[in-house]
Amino acid sequence: MATYSNQCAIVGVGENKRSRKSGTTPLHMALTAARNALADAGLEANDLDGIMNYSTGADSCPSHELATFLGCHPKYVKDVSGGGSSTELLIADAVALIEAGMLNTVLIYRSMNGSSGHQVGRGYDPNMLQEMLSGGSFLMPYGTASPTQWFGMFATRHMQQTGITKKHLGHVCISFYEHAQRNPDAFLHGKPLDMETYLATPDISSPFNIHDCCVELDEANAIIVTSAANAKNCKSKPVFIAGMAPRTTHSNTHYWTQVDEVAADYAAAELYRSAGVKPEDIQVAAIYDCFSWVVLRQLESYGFAKRGEVGDFVADGNLKMGGLLPSNTAGGMLSEGYTHGMNNVLELVRQLRHDYKGTDRQVKNCELGIATGWAGPDMAGAMILRN
């Protein structure tokens, strides 16, 4: 009955060093990430017959260009416009092409100078934004041009209706910042956060202060997907794709007619059905965290806590190591770095391979993990991985 049933696996992950100012181009960073993923898998560039990537506007480099400088000739390249949930979407596309016998091994990457280059939601011409965004002329005249404001609008109502407080948002931040302190590669390594500091930090846009927002950085990530049969020839321990909800859509965010439902509510049912597992089977998580509140809303969508009980779930420390659902264990986008969701997936793969065995970073005995993507309330994608 399961459509994915472990027939493909992630066999390689790699990244380029994250920074505020890379001093180099997305192409250079993507090449480093791709070479690191190939080395992780024990594969050569010529083993790749598909390369895919996503970008927002022109903030990345095309896959064909990456292939050229890896010195390989894949028969299939694809570049999509996307953001959150595009990692899951492209992995699902790769699985479908592999299952159809079209491709064997696909590299998926995201490379962006998200700090020194083109920042998401900043530095646009207001008139251009009015034309570009659906309903843009009903946003810009009111000063509404930032994701903090758009997500805040959904968060305020959800929090009021479910009793979630600012302190609950703080528990999400504090949990992930705590993980970043064990990860020397996290951007906010060495910068722990406590509740007193969190609550004393002024808001940017209510209900969010700086700690509730992801760290925009320069970074590249890469993931290699191949068939379960090919995975046996790889150097790494394969992490199998057990189930997916590639991308589920809901009415456009900027229509505002219904902010109580989000696309993740609909992705969840398909996800669990395709994997044949239940939320309580999941042992480790990568929850899309462009903003702290988004984590709470997805925990509700994906069935980890009942509506109205999500705040208590995080206050009880369940997102931390040793909790019921250790999440974003490298620090997440709130404190490790932000590449539109892909860095969280890299960490999930490493947890499921038990790469951190013998250290305090390893989630004990984890076999099954969830990665959720979120491209605003209107689009969601998710996958379940197992070792």
Binding site: R122, P126, F138, G143, A145, D203
Partner: protein, 144 residues
């Protein structure tokens, strides 16, 4: 010496789909797009009905006495667009129209303290003249 009277904030751009809305706003009136087939309101206006996909739409004039309640809101403490640096904190709301609660209209709540805003708070539409020939719909707290 000239007095600088330029409006610094973005002015709503009229286009093929939305111009009846903004033309009415300039006259201090609210006009909403409506689907001829399923009778749903369409806001923001578009090339077809998001409820049923019908391309047949018409416009309904709701007049100048528009009341609503706060559906959700944010208080913005940083300017993300030109002009708003003079206007902080900025209260932004999506308000549910009393006459058609499924319609949510975004605007600032003006003449109001940020601490006083809450979901369910009653609002009244007002129009602020931003240039010689353009006006912007805004919300003010309704008198109880």
């Amino acid at each position: 010496m000239t007095i600088k009277t330029d409006y610094e904030k973005p002015i709503p751009l009229k286009n093929q789909d939305n111009h009846p809305y903004w033309d009415a706003a300039d006259q201090h009136e609210l006009k909403l797009q409506k689907c001829t087939a399923c009778r749903s309101f369409i806001h923001p206006p578009g090339p077809a009905c998001p409820s049923c996909g019908s391309p047949e739409t018409e416009w309904e004039l709701l007049g100048s006495n528009i009341s609503a309640t706060v559906y959700s809101y944010v208080v913005s403490y940083r300017p993300f667009l030109p002009g708003f640096q003079h206007d902080l904190p900025t209260i932004i709301t999506v308000a549910s129209l009393d006459a058609a609660p499924e319609v949510k209209l975004m605007a600032n709540i003006i003449n109001c303290d940020a601490e006083d805003v809450e979901i369910g708070m009653p609002l009244q539409m007002t129009w602020v003249d931003i240039t010689e020939d353009r006006a912007l719909p805004q919300w003010i707290p309704a008198k109880k």
